[in-house]
């Protein structure tokens, strides 16, 4: 009933919903979490956060301008409980769907930014996520801007059936066009990035960064264990594992993330000439 408590706190005009540490289960007020760079004030582990909060955290103050904020999912398959899940997710997160997109500046460097919201049906990708990210890449292509994407997802949104699978192709095609025009696409893999998002735009960046300890994989750990028939190492599908196997460029801690991103954006500024 998390959504009810959140709804009540929203209605009573209190602060935004608190964050809950996955490791020690401590509830951390949003303000405290923000001040602490989204590290748990109790155990020091990384808090799971995304979406609007992520953009507010990384972008220069008052530079964020949202692209296509008013897209909502439809239960077009009349899938059991989907309408209910959407309603709950909307009330829990205050978002209309699982990704927030727009333009922003990072230490003065302009970019198109998107950040997925893990609390919105596991940031699964349905029509809205696919459409919004596609529009973000199309906007970036039109304005010759780099794209900075924070990925987090449980994969394709099965409640939208085959239409959700096709979003992988749709976004990939937009990434391709943006890339062919010589624009930078920088991804930051955050916990957890899995399934169809890993198998599409999460892994299509020119440069792929990851947060420490983030779960990143295609198949779920349980499925892999069943298929493989043995226990997997503890760091299996963690960003350190991916770095070791050659699939991410660098693991960057939250305290270094903003300056690293800003530096990379600056290095790809196409207007600078000798």
């Amino acid at each position: 009933m998390k959504f009810l408590t959140n709804l009540l706190s929203k209605l009573s005009g209190k602060d935004e919903a608190p964050l809950i540490c996955k490791s020690c289960k401590t509830e951390i007020p949003a303000k405290v979490a923000r001040k602490n760079d989204y590290l748990c004030s109790s155990c020091g582990k990384y808090l799971r956060f995304g979406g609007r909060r992520r953009i507010q955290w990384i972008a220069d103050e008052k530079t964020f301008q949202e692209i296509s904020p008013n897209l909502s999912s439809q239960d077009f398959l009349q899938f059991p409980n989907y309408a209910q899940k959407l309603w709950e997710a909307e009330n829990t997160t205050g978002e209309k769907d699982a990704v927030v997109c727009g333009t922003a500046k990072i230490k003065g460097n302009p970019c198109v930014i998107f950040a997925m919201e893990p609390d919105f049906i596991m940031a699964s990708m349905g029509s809205v996520v696919g459409e919004k990210i596609t529009r973000a890449f199309e906007y970036a292509l039109e304005h010759q801007l780099p794209v900075l994407g924070f990925t987090a997802s449980g994969g394709a949104r099965m409640q939208e059936g085959i239409v959700s699978l096709m979003q992988m192709a749709k976004v990939s095609a937009a990434v391709r066009r943006h890339s062919d025009a010589g624009n930078l696409y920088l991804t930051v893999l955050t916990d957890p990035t899995t399934g169809g998002v890993t198998a599409s735009f999460a892994m299509q960046g020119d440069i792929i960064l990851a947060e420490p300890g983030a779960l990143v994989g295609f198949a779920g750990r349980r499925v892999v264990e069943q298929t493989t028939g043995s226990n997997l190492p503890k760091d299996f599908q963690r960003s350190e594992f991916l770095l070791q196997h050659g699939f991410v460029d660098e693991i960057v801690s939250r305290s270094k993330l903003k300056e690293t991103i800003a530096l990379l954006l600056r290095m790809h500024n196409r207007e600078v000439r000798i």
């Binding site: 899938f79 085959i162 749709k170 599409s200 892994m203 196997h245």
Partner: protein
């Protein structure tokens, strides 16, 4: 017929697999192996053959004929090296101006630890990215199961065709039932809810045509399929490449159902 009944038919042993279509549709085939990166994956067959007088590159996910063959082909669940082989042959086709014909029949990309270690997600992601811009026509036919990202990795095409009882799904109905209802026995319900049939694919703009299944007259059936391929290829090959790519882009661009400011 229910979606579940179609799923059962799509999975029937003895149903023609990828190899049968290659043998029936293409003459003078040369099979090509390996991804030139890591290894060879028997789950995906690839090579060059003639479609009438036109040299084409074919790629087919092959589930295998008998038990031994199925084991060797990992039951048609490709690993990253399979997708990378497919990509290598697609790029080769692009270089020599050959159309690419793909045949999809898979439960999904392999979910083992080795596949994850070698970047299953990346392998699929790269195919999606490359197919979106490949400068030769791509035709994909789902001949049995079209299982999730593992099927889409050969499915970013100019035309997609479904066999009459073939299915195409974002997740296996078993997986869906297990995740949503913690009950893999609810497969029938999941198959129904997911809308996986050939008619569903037409409705959502995922496929252009459905091929009737007349397996007792397989050569004649393939003759019909071949005629459709030739017809669509001559149309695609007559277009400027830029237009073909723009139409491929729009083919996927328009898929998605949502509301904006409350309007559909």
């Amino acid at each position: 017929m229910t979606a579940y009944e179609k799923l059962r038919i799509a999975r029937t042993t003895g149903r023609p697999t990828g190899r049968a279509y290659i043998d029936s549709l293409f003459t003078e085939q040369v099979f090509l192996h390996g991804d030139r990166r890591y290894g060879e994956d028997g789950a995906i067959l690839g090579g060059i053959g003639y479609l009438e007088r036109l040299p084409v590159t074919f790629l087919a996910i092959e589930k295998g004929q008998d038990l031994q063959d199925r084991l060797a082909r990992n039951f048609g669940c490709p690993k990253p090296e399979g997708y990378r082989k497919a990509l290598r042959l697609m790029k080769q086709a692009e270089k020599f101006g050959r159309p690419v014909l793909c045949f999809v029949d898979t439960l999904g990309a392999f979910c083992g630890a080795d596949a994850e270690e070698r970047g299953q997600g990346l392998a699929i992601a790269e195919n999606l990215l490359e197919m979106a811009g490949l400068t030769v026509p791509i035709l994909t036919t789902v001949i049995g199961e079209g299982g999730s990202g593992g099927a889409l990795a050969l499915g970013v095409a100019d035309r997609v065709y479904m066999l009459e009882n073939a299915v195409y799904s974002v997740i296996s109905p078993e997986g869906c039932a297990s995740i949503l209802w913690k009950d893999s026995a609810k497969v029938e319900q999941a198959a129904d809810c997911l809308h996986i049939t050939a008619e569903d694919m037409l409705r959502f703009g995922v496929a252009e045509a459905v091929f009737p299944e007349t397996f007792d007259r397989f050569p004649q059936m393939c003759e019909q399929i071949k005629n459709r391929y030739l017809q669509d290829l001559s149309e695609l090959l007559s277009k400027p490449i830029g237009q073909m790519l723009e139409e491929r882009y729009q083919r996927f661009r328009k898929i998605g159902i949502f509301t904006e400011n409350g309007e559909a």
